[in-house]
């Protein structure tokens, strides 16, 4: 392994720490806009990781993926979410069903759990344990945000975090999927956020609130 590769590997491993920080901060965030900024920051960290890989492996494809991450996840989606928040003119708190302290503890537990979960795989696959754990932690965090936050927009953010986790898992284990597939996934993601935004407005217009835990007319 050359010096550059080694340096990149070290940098990647330590950058996992930033991802854990964003996850923990999301757990304690009280406002939707804070969560959007954190999602942007999280995506920026991942973009930097893709760039590092692109540099080390001299891969044009990876540069293209990095550009996509920056364009879609760091700029377009947070921007679109901010616009939705502004247009909605609704209260901005996340209305969690757990307190901030509880959320942070649950999140820490999830991080610990993901380290245990990946330990056997990391050895056999010879990939970095911290990064793989970060990927699983993002996945779990996304799921946790979706079930514990009541606002419709927070479910969208939870889904995006979950998707970030899957992206990171692909990145650490296989250095990403073929470019065409990545582009397709990004396109789906963008369309998905667009549609969910549309539905958020519809929910507000038909129900006069955005609390999805109160949507329970359909049962059984």
């Amino acid at each position: 392994m050359g010096m550059i590769e080694l340096a990149v590997a070290k940098a990647l491993a330590s950058s996992a720490v930033f991802l854990f920080v964003t996850v923990l901060m999301m757990a304690s965030a009280k406002r939707i806009s804070a969560c959007i900024i954190l999602f942007g920051a999280q995506s920026a960290v991942m973009a930097a990781q893709v760039l590092a890989i692109a540099y080390a492996r001299h891969s044009i494809e990876a540069y293209a993926v990095a550009t996509l991450v920056i364009a879609v996840k760091v700029v377009a989606i947070p921007f679109a979410l901010f616009r939705i928040v502004k247009e909605l003119k609704a209260p901005q708190d996340v209305t969690a069903s757990t307190t901030a302290t509880q959320s942070v503890f649950i999140m820490a537990g999830l991080i610990l759990l993901s380290f245990f979960a990946v330990a056997p795989y990391a050895k056999t696959l010879r990939v970095d344990e911290d990064m793989l754990a970060a990927a699983i932690a993002l996945l779990l965090t996304g799921a946790f945000l979706m079930v514990s936050r009541k606002k419709a927009l927070m479910q969208v953010i939870g889904l995006l975090v979950l998707e970030n986790g899957i992206f990171l898992a692909a990145l650490t284990t296989t250095f990403g999927m073929p470019l065409v597939i990545e582009i397709g996934i990004f396109f789906d993601l963008l369309m998905g956020v667009f549609l969910m935004g549309l539905f958020v407005f519809r929910i507000r217009d038909t129900f006069d609130h955005l609390d999805v835990s109160k949507l329970r007319r359909l049962r059984g």
């Binding site: 073929p178 065409v180 969910m196 539905f199 359909l218 059984g220």
Partner: protein, 484 residues
């Protein structure tokens, strides 16, 4: 070239229909585009019959399995389009809810589903399955009522999360292929994966992990219990033609994706693991759906649970495996799609006539709406698996497979569930059909187009109950050859 046409017609058609400001023009354009697309599908299937495999570029590919499902989607789609023409005239105008928006989204939905069938690459396949959710979410929320918006939101969120799991599973399989020496560029291609699958032995844990995630992910879209929560809501709140498409085509589309993964997994690590998982999901779906059908109050929710039950039976057929099991599963998927289309047409007619779908509020239908009632009786006899209808044959074959392979537990589970379903439907429908007409229906006669499509469905079900035409059996056999 030929495969690209299948995708171009609906995508360009969607834009064209959107440009028609007059509802009358939009309807005509939709019918024309629909006829073109069905012709193109038949032509493509004909060419697959002679050529075996069609490939266009790197990412579009069609084989025997594709041909089988293409015929399915072409047939059902044609019927639903003709039915929609009569159904659509009463839709309240609003944003995204005029006929042109309906047809446009309809073609977009069709485009994504055909793209699923034509994907040569499992990554592409995932992208297209996710696109089907996005394309149909607006159709589910089409009426813009409280229920429709809630159902649309739930559908969008639950299916997107479910499908995200399938992406994780796809990545795990990709990783397994790359670790086994397949070049990263082609490690998601179906051909390359099927060729390399026998060498996946050293990474069998990864293959197992992949299949679990894929089964949960695409299983969400198929409506396996316990990931089915979106399905009854979406089916009940969507306009009836859309419910028919969701139940008859979309569920099969997701099942198709799972079948591809099942074939690769079976070839890589033996069929034991994946088939056991399918049997568990199938058994759970059949039992839970049958029990929930007893307590339903809304006709379309009842039909939705019946779809879950039937997809469970298909999964059991695949899980039992062997040529007969798979043959029966594919046949059942097709028969179910025709029967359920008929039932949703009936439901649409009931809604139009009585203005409600609550089964308690409807009495004396047999007298006031004789033809609709006849279709209802025929359709429900078909979906409970009575002879002489197509579903009897396929269910009988699945039960035979179960007994032959000494899986008595599964066989008894299916038999008991089928009896429960029979009882539930009898209980619900005798109230609706019999008795004195309470609330007078507002619409007494079927439109000729509605009459025609219901007739075609009924004739199909009876013919397939008598004997399976040779051409069709051949089509299924070619589909099986791809999977084994």
């Amino acid at each position: 070239m030929s495969l690209l046409v299948l995708l171009l017609i609906p995508s360009l058609g969607a834009m064209l229909v959107l440009g028609c400001k007059q509802p009358r023009h939009a309807t005509r354009a939709a019918l024309l585009i629909g006829a073109l697309e069905v012709t193109a599908i038949v032509h493509a299937v004909w060419r697959i019959r002679s050529a075996g495999i069609l490939q266009t570029g790197r990412y579009l590919r069609a084989d025997g399995l594709t041909a089988f499902f293409l015929i399915n989607i072409g047939f059902i789609f044609g019927l639903v389009l003709v039915y929609s023409v009569g159904y659509l005239h009463h839709i309240p105008a609003g944003r995204f809810s005029s006929p042109r928006w309906f047809y446009s989204l309809f073609f977009l939905f069709l485009f994504t589903m055909i793209a699923v069938y034509l994907s040569a690459n499992l990554g592409m396949l995932w992208i297209c399955v996710e696109a089907t959710t996005l394309a149909s979410a607006l159709l589910v929320g089409f009426y813009n009522t409280e229920g429709a918006v809630e159902a649309g939101w739930k559908y969008l969120i639950v299916c997107t999360v479910g499908i995200a799991f399938a992406l994780f599973g796809t990545i795990a399989l990709y990783l397994a292929a790359v670790k086994s020496g397949v070049s990263p560029q082609s490690a998601l291609d179906w051909d390359a994966l099927m060729t390399a699958a026998p060498t996946f032995g050293p990474v069998r844990d990864l293959v197992k992990l992949s299949f679990v995630f894929v089964a949960v992910g695409y299983g969400t879209k198929i409506g396996f219990v316990p990931m089915h929560s979106w399905l009854p809501d979406a089916h009940a709140e969507a306009p009836s033609p859309v419910s028919a498409l969701l139940s008859a085509v979309l569920l099969n589309c997701a099942m198709y994706a799972l079948l591809r993964f099942d074939a690769i997994t079976s070839r890589a690590i033996g069929s034991g693991f994946s088939h056991t998982l399918l049997l568990i999901f199938g058994g759970l779906s059949v039992t839970v759906a049958a029990l929930l059908m007893i307590v339903q109050k809304d006709l379309k929710r009842l039909l939705a649970y019946s779809s879950i039950e039937h997809m469970g039976i298909v999964a059991i057929g695949v899980g039992l495996g062997g040529t007969l099991g798979l043959f029966a599963a594919l046949l059942h998927a097709f028969n179910h799609s025709v029967a359920k289309t008929l039932m949703f047409f009936v439901a649409g007619d009931v809604r139009e006539s009585f203005g409600t779908l609550r089964m308690k509020g409807i009495h004396g239908m047999a007298r006031s709406l004789p033809w609709t009632s006849a279709s209802l009786v025929l359709g429900s006899l078909a979906i409970v698996g009575m002879p002489p209808f197509g579903l009897f044959i396929s269910e009988f074959m699945i039960l035979t497979t179960a007994f032959n392979s000494s899986r008595y537990g599964i066989a008894i589970l299916v038999l008991v569930s089928l009896s429960v379903v029979f009882g539930a439907l009898l209980h619900h429908f005798q109230h609706m059909l019999g008795g004195k007409p309470g609330n007078a229906p507002t619409k007494l006669k079927l439109l000729p187009s509605e009459f025609a499509v219901m007739g075609i469905c009924s004739v199909f079900l009876i013919v397939f109950g008598m004997r399976i035409p040779g051409v069709f059996a051949n089509l299924v056999q070619r589909a099986l050859a791809v999977l084994q």
